[in-house]
Each structure stands twice: as structure tokens, then as C-alpha cells.
């Protein structure tokens, strides 16, 4: 009985505030836009009994999804989010792996400090970290000032309000999510394996490819998902660093909801985004559970 209570409290909380809301999103995505409060029809009217429920059910349709499919704005936004998320995941991996590797090779007494230095930005406001790049990347910003002072460029580079700024923003803010899982995989790596590979005639680079990389695979997978999945639906970074040409689905959803007040279309955008993310989310969860089993 007590066990039942322990399970049911968090269970019911998540059901009511995580699962049920999705069902509501799904339902509204099948409704029609209306100039009313709330701005969609039909609304379920239980007081009319069975007839009310039937009328409600019949009025639901896939119209909003046809609308999404027919308007290329949405297609382009999904594709461009996918592209931005994939490119920035690869970039984050390229920046993050050497850091994680360096940390795992550092002397033992440095490690807690290095670890803290990686985690510290993660505790600082995300919004502030994104904002800090605005002053660096703008046309009269510090990066352009530096490059012009050094004589590398004559004209300021336009970086802010382009996709490049979005990539920089994503790599910067999500870097700890990539570094930490890779580091924890590399930290467990038994160094005698590398010595064995070298004794058996591998060059250091070859030993890295054949031993270190495969053994850190799980960290790479976990880190990549932790960057890719939230980057796909990112809103703050494209809104602050991207330009009017930066199409990302999170921003489209936000504008559909707050500016156009089109709740049914915003809901349909959310449902499609979720469907696109379900595969990576399930793969991520599998990877986590596998790792958990391995640690036991």
C-alpha cells in the first residue's frame, strides 16, 4: 500500500502535467482556428451530453496538417532546423572532444578544477550566455574591431543575424553537454589498453582511432543527442543571434502562437516537431539505459 502511494504521487503528477498536456495539444491541432476566447473551435461541451461529444468529435480534422504540408514556410523551417541542428552537433563534437580528451589526460589533481570550469557556465543563465555574443559578433563588435586592428580584414564581417552566429551560439551554450558525457567515458578508459595497442605496433594516432574512439562511443552518442535534440527546437538562440532569414521551427511555433495567435497551427507544428524528435529521444533513452546497465 505504501509502495503504491510512493509510486502514484510522482506518477500522477507527470501524467497530469506532462502526458495530458500533450493530448490536449494533439486535440487542438485537429481543431479549427476561430476568433474567440480560447481562439479555436470546437470546444467540448459536456453539458450537452452524448450529442455534444459526438459533435465535438466530428468537427476534428486534419486540416491544419494539410496546411503545414502545403505551405513551404513550414517545410523549409523543419529542414533548416534539421540542418542547423546537425551542423552544430558536429561542430560541438569537434570542439568538445579535444577538451574532454585533454581533461581526461590531465593530472589527477587538476581534474576537479577542470570539471568545475566546464560545469560553471552550465549553471550561469543560458540567456546571458547567448546575449554575451551579441556584443562580440555585431558589425562594430569586438571581433570585427580585433580583426580590423590586426589587418586581417578591411571591411567588418557580417556575422550577427546570420546562421553562422546561430552555430556559434549553439556550440557555445551546449558545449558542456557534449564534453561531460565524453569525459566520463574517457575517464573510465583503461590506459593499459593503449599501451597494449602501442606494444602491438600501433602508432599513437592509430591506437587512438582503434581503441580510444570506439571506447568513447557511448559518450559521443549521449553528447550528440543532448545537443541535437534541444537544438532542433531551439528558440532563444535564433531569436537573439539569428536574422530574419534564419528559419527554425521553434521560432516559427513561437510566432505562430504569440504573434498570429493561431493556436491550432502552433499545436500542429508542435506535434510534427515531436514526431520528428521521437526517434532520437527513444534512441537517447536506450543509450542511457544501456549505460546504466553497464555501470551496475
Amino acid at each position: 500500500m505504501k509502495r503504491f502511494g510512493l509510486i502514484s504521487v510522482p506518477y500522477l503528477w507527470l501524467l497530469a502535467l506532462f502526458l495530458v498536456p500533450f493530448l490536449i495539444v494533439l486535440k487542438i491541432s485537429l481543431s479549427d482556428t476561430a476568433l474567440a476566447i480560447p481562439p479555436y473551435t470546437p470546444t467540448l461541451d459536456i453539458s450537452q451530453g452524448w450529442e455534444g461529444i459526438k459533435a465535438w468529435w466530428i468537427a476534428l480534422d486534419l486540416e491544419n496538417y494539410f496546411w503545414l504540408a502545403s505551405d513551404d514556410l513550414y517545410w523549409k523551417a523543419y529542414l533548416s532546423s534539421l540542418k542547423i541542428a546537425i551542423i552544430s552537433t558536429i561542430l560541438t563534437l569537434m570542439v568538445g572532444y579535444p577538451i574532454a580528451y585533454g581533461m581526461s589526460r590531465a593530472p589527477d589533481e587538476w581534474r576537479p578544477t577542470l570539471m568545475m570550469l566546464i560545469i560553471l557556465p552550465f549553471w550561469t543563465s543560458f540567456l546571458i550566455r547567448v546575449y554575451s555574443w551579441k556584443a562580440i559578433l555585431s558589425n562594430e563588435g569586438l571581433l570585427n574591431q580585433l580583426l580590423m586592428y590586426l589587418g586581417v580584414i578591411q571591411e567588418p564581417l557580417v556575422i550577427l543575424n546570420t546562421n553562422l552566429a546561430v552555430y556559434i551560439g549553439i556550440v557555445y551554450t551546449y558545449l558542456p553537454f557534449m564534453v561531460l558525457p565524453i569525459y566520463s567515458a574517457l575517464e573510465r578508459l583503461d590506459e593499459s589498453l593503449l599501451e597494449a595497442a602501442e606494444d602491438l605496433g600501433c602508432s599513437r594516432l592509430k591506437a587512438f582511432w582503434l581503441v580510444t574512439m570506439p571506447l568513447s562511443k557511448q559518450g559521443i552518442i549521449a553528447g550528440s543527442f543532448l545537443v541535437f535534440i534541444p537544438a532542433m527546437g531551439e528558440f532563444v538562440i535564433p531569436a537573439l543571434l539569428g536574422g530574419s532569414k534564419t528559419l527554425m521551427i521553434g521560432k516559427v511555433l513561437w510566432e505562430e502562437f504569440f504573434s498570429n495567435r493561431d493556436w491550432p497551427v502552433a499545436s500542429a507544428v508542435a506535434v510534427v516537431l515531436l514526431l520528428l524528435l521521437i526517434i532520437p529521444i527513444v534512441l537517447f533513452q536506450r543509450n542511457e539505459e544501456k549505460q546504466r546497465e553497464a555501470e551496475k
Binding site: P10, P21, I24, R105, S125, K134, F284
Partner: protein
């Protein structure tokens, strides 16, 4: 002792420079006398003064703090329960759904979480305000708490709990007297994580807040959307400072408590 190769030294130096230079610049320019945040025109603390005279920011900061304290406290209780269920309850009907609901919010795009919660609150007729933000923040941060706590529970020796039960403790007493003190560091860091997640959140709060309950991130976002402002730099500097003190403080105390525990254990063996 191991020495770092030049490659590792270079990647660590560049990596940490990349992480910290933007923040150092941000902090430096909060002390700039001029209005521009890209041209240095002398040292001044006037933006801090402006900040503390800005009623709207102070109000928003107060709302944010209230929401963060409430949501992180509820999330810690619920998240610890959820972690206990995940690690100890074994099989029960709906376990897969439960573990899915624990992991999914960790990676769910915030726009979806925010939208779905808002539609729920409207469907049940709950007015948007501090309460709705607290409910929303509790829901996603309890999942983070549960991950942090369950990683500690997994490594915890279950026989200690069984011994307490054998010696006549009830289940709850065994939890309070044996399990909780041992997992306490994880519970505290779970609370801290939930607290900062709540302080930090813009997207979910934007969906679930009402006109009278603007949080600090919402205020900051609308201020910086158009451009940079030294007042925001000053505010950011204060927030970065608080976090730095908090994180360093927490890591020192946990180091001390680990050292103390090791000493206690050694003495107990002797």
C-alpha cells in the same frame, strides 16, 4: 606524474578561452561609463545604480526568486520519490511509461513543453500567474532531480537499509534515518539544479506566466532582443557572480564532507 602533451594543453587552453572570454567581456563592459557595450569609455559603476533604481527589474527578480524557491523545493521532493521508485520499486504496471516521462522532459524542446502546459492551464480554467509557472517549472525540474538522485541511489549499499528494517525501523524511518542522510548531497545538488533551471527559464515561463507575473528572464529577453544594453550587462554580472560563489561554495563543502566521511569511516573500522 603525468604531463600534458602540447596538443592537450592547446585544446584545454583554447577550449576554456572560448568558454570564458565572452563572459569576461560581458563583465568588463558592465563597468563601462558609456552607453555602448563595444567601445570602452572609462570605468564606472553607474549601470549598477540604474539597475537598482529600476522597479520593473526588481519586481521581476522577486517573482523569479519566489517561483524558483517554490518549484525547486516541490521538485526535489517529487524527484527524489521518482528516483526511489525507478531504482527500488522493481517492476510495476506502467513502469515503461513512467521512465519515459522521467527522461523525455530532459530533452523535450522547451517550446513544446511550454505550449502544452499553457493549453492545459487554459483547458482547466487556471488563471496564469505565479502558480502556473511554479507548476510548469516543478514538472520539468523534478525530472532533472530524479536523474541526479537516482545516480546516487544506484551506488548506495541496500543492505544498510535492510539492516535498519531488521532492527525494527518502519520503511519511512529507514528512509529518513539511513537512506536520506547518505543521498543528501545528491538531493542538495538536485535542489540547486532545479533552482537554477527555474531562475534561468525563459521559454516555458513566457508561455505560462500572466501579465502580473513577469519573470526576470522574460524582462531580460525583451530588453536584449533589440540590442545590447549596459544595464543588462550589470545584471548579468551580478547573476554570474552569485552563481560562481554558489558553485565554488558548494564544491568546497562537498569536498569537506567527503573528506569527513572518509575519516569517519576509517575511524569506524579502527
Amino acid at each position: 606524474m603525468r604531463r600534458l602533451s602540447w596538443f592537450n594543453t592547446a585544446s584545454l587552453t583554447l577550449g576554456f578561452a572560448f568558454l570564458y572570454i565572452p563572459m569576461i567581456i560581458l563583465i568588463t563592459y558592465s563597468f563601462n561609463a558609456g552607453k555602448l557595450v563595444t567601445v570602452w569609455s572609462g570605468f564606472s559603476t553607474k549601470w549598477y545604480g540604474e539597475l537598482f533604481r529600476n522597479e520593473a527589474f526588481l519586481d521581476a527578480a522577486w517573482v523569479t526568486l519566489k517561483v524558483a524557491v517554490m518549484s525547486s523545493s516541490i521538485a526535489t521532493v517529487l524527484g527524489t520519490m521518482a528516483a526511489y521508485v525507478m531504482v527500488r520499486a522493481g517492476r510495476f504496471p506502467g513502469r515503461t511509461v513512467f521512465s519515459g516521462m522521467i527522461y523525455a522532459p530532459l530533452v523535450m524542446p522547451e517550446v513544446i513543453t511550454g505550449l502544452s502546459l499553457l493549453l492545459l492551464f487554459i483547458a482547466i480554467g487556471l488563471d496564469r500567474g505565479v502558480l502556473t509557472i511554479v507548476l510548469a517549472h516543478t514538472t520539468f525540474s523534478m525530472c532533472f532531480v530524479s536523474v541526479v538522485v537516482s545516480s546516487r541511489l544506484v551506488t548506495f549499499d541496500q543492505s544498510l537499509e535492510e539492516a535498519a528494517l531488521d532492527l525494527g525501523c518502519t520503511g519511512f524511518e529507514a528512509f529518513r534515518l539511513v537512506t536520506l542522510p547518505i543521498i543528501m548531497p545528491a538531493v542538495v545538488s538536485g535542489w540547486l539544479l532545479a533552482f537554477t533551471l527555474s531562475l534561468d527559464d525563459l521559454v516555458i515561463a513566457s508561455f505560462t506566466s500572466g501579465p502580473s507575473s513577469t519573470t526576470l528572464p522574460i524582462k531580460i529577453f525583451s530588453a536584449v532582443r533589440l540590442g545590447v544594453s549596459p544595464e543588462i550587462n550589470a545584471l548579468s554580472t551580478i547573476m554570474i557572480g552569485l552563481v560562481t560563489v554558489g558553485v565554488i561554495g558548494a564544491s568546497l563543502t562537498s569536498k569537506r564532507s567527503i573528506a569527513k566521511r572518509q575519516k569517519d569511516e576509517q575511524e569506524a573500522i579502527l
